[in-house]
């Protein structure tokens, strides 16, 4: 087919990630979802406790921290 053989490289886990595995998208998704999930939970806590936004703020910061941590663990070397 079109003269190209499929590559013979086995893809074990220790092999490198193939280039451009949509890693950029994954990283952005982690950052945004971290902020949204924990910011959202914080917002709910705010509504429940009756504060005006302190928990949403803490949640967003924690969430984005978690997102960065996940990027490092899942996508880092």
């Amino acid at each position: 087919m079109a003269g190209q053989e499929p590559s013979k490289n086995p893809r074990g886990d220790d092999a490198d990630n193939p280039p451009d595995t949509g890693m950029g998208m994954t990283a952005v998704a982690y950052l945004i979802s971290g902020m949204l999930v924990w910011g959202g939970i914080g917002w709910l806590v705010d509504r429940w406790v009756g504060t005006s936004g302190i928990f949403a703020g803490i949640g967003a910061v924690l969430g984005i921290g978690g997102g960065v941590y996940l990027i490092v663990r899942r996508l880092g070397v």
């Binding site: 079109a2 499929p6 590559s7 193939p18 280039p19 996940l70 663990r73």
Partner: protein, 264 residues
């Protein structure tokens, strides 16, 4: 003069709105606002038919030295198989190459209607079509993961990152949100928004030219500039069309790869 220009301007609806995406029914016996069979519906059926017929015809009598049509069909399949499926997923990617090729061709052709002269609207500028394609890919990569690992182990691989236990409660909701909620949503919205915005952009520049001309005859040179911009943007749209078909396919392949991968 003023009255006339108002009448003329009334002919050209400017600025374009979301209403411009809801085309009237093309069934001669249906009412005007009946949406069961519109240009969009016709284009989707036409795309499906064209793809089926093209691949059937080009593979009917395969030659060792391919004919032009066969060469073209094999190039498309070879491109998706080698540069998307195998590159992303590895040797097992060959199993997914037929689906990915179909997906790629279908999205590419449907997007391409957006710049075909006198057709110039892409079915993918309606959220329903990208959304359904995203649902297919979503169900597929989850099913692939479950078949590969079993439900419990798949959820464990997908949701539990390698991290100390005390930080897991913070991370698992993020993983769930980004793997199972953001993925299908972003697949669908990315394609839809690009096609929607592309059509809107072309409408703005085309109709804007008429609107300026109608507002004041002295604006005619600017109208010409606006129409030249339309042509330039059509070429830009061509780029977006190919890119979005590619991105959708690559991301699907990457999600499948993620579902197949063992935990690291």
């Amino acid at each position: 003069m003023t009255g006339q220009s108002i009448v003329l301007a009334a002919d050209v609806p400017f600025p374009p709105s979301v209403e411009d995406f809801y085309l009237p029914s093309i069934l001669p016996w249906a009412e005007h606002d009946n949406y069961w069979f519109t240009k969009i519906t016709a284009l989707v059926w036409l795309s499906a038919a064209l793809i089926i017929i093209f691949f059937l015809v080009s593979y009917r009598k395969p030659q060792l030295v391919p004919t032009k049509k066969q060469w073209f069909a094999e190039s498309i399949y070879g491109f998706v198989r080698n540069n998307i499926a195998i590159e992303m997923i590895g040797p097992r990617g060959v199993n997914f190459a037929p689906y990915l090729t179909t997906l790629f061709c279908f999205i590419l052709l449907n997007n391409f209607w957006g710049i075909v002269p006198f057709v110039q609207i892409s079915p993918n500028s309606h959220i329903a079509f990208p959304a359904f394609l995203a649902v297919i890919s979503y169900v597929m990569f989850i099913a692939v993961g479950v078949r590969q690992h079993g439900v419990v182990k798949y959820l464990k691989t997908a949701l539990i990152p390698p991290a100390p236990w005390f930080i897991l409660p913070l991370l698992i909701p993020i993983e769930f949100f980004s793997n199972f909620l953001v993925r299908p949503f972003s697949l669908a919205v990315r394609l839809f928004a690009n096609m929607f915005a592309g059509h809107m952009l072309l409408l703005v520049f085309t109709l804007g030219g008429f609107a300026m001309l109608n507002a004041n005859a002295w604006f005619a040179p600017f109208s010409v500039v606006s129409w030249v911009m339309t042509i330039a943007l059509t070429f830009l749209e061509f780029l977006v069309i190919c890119l979005q078909a590619y991105v959708f396919t690559v991301l699907t392949a990457s999600y499948v790869q993620g579902a197949l991968a063992d935990e690291h």
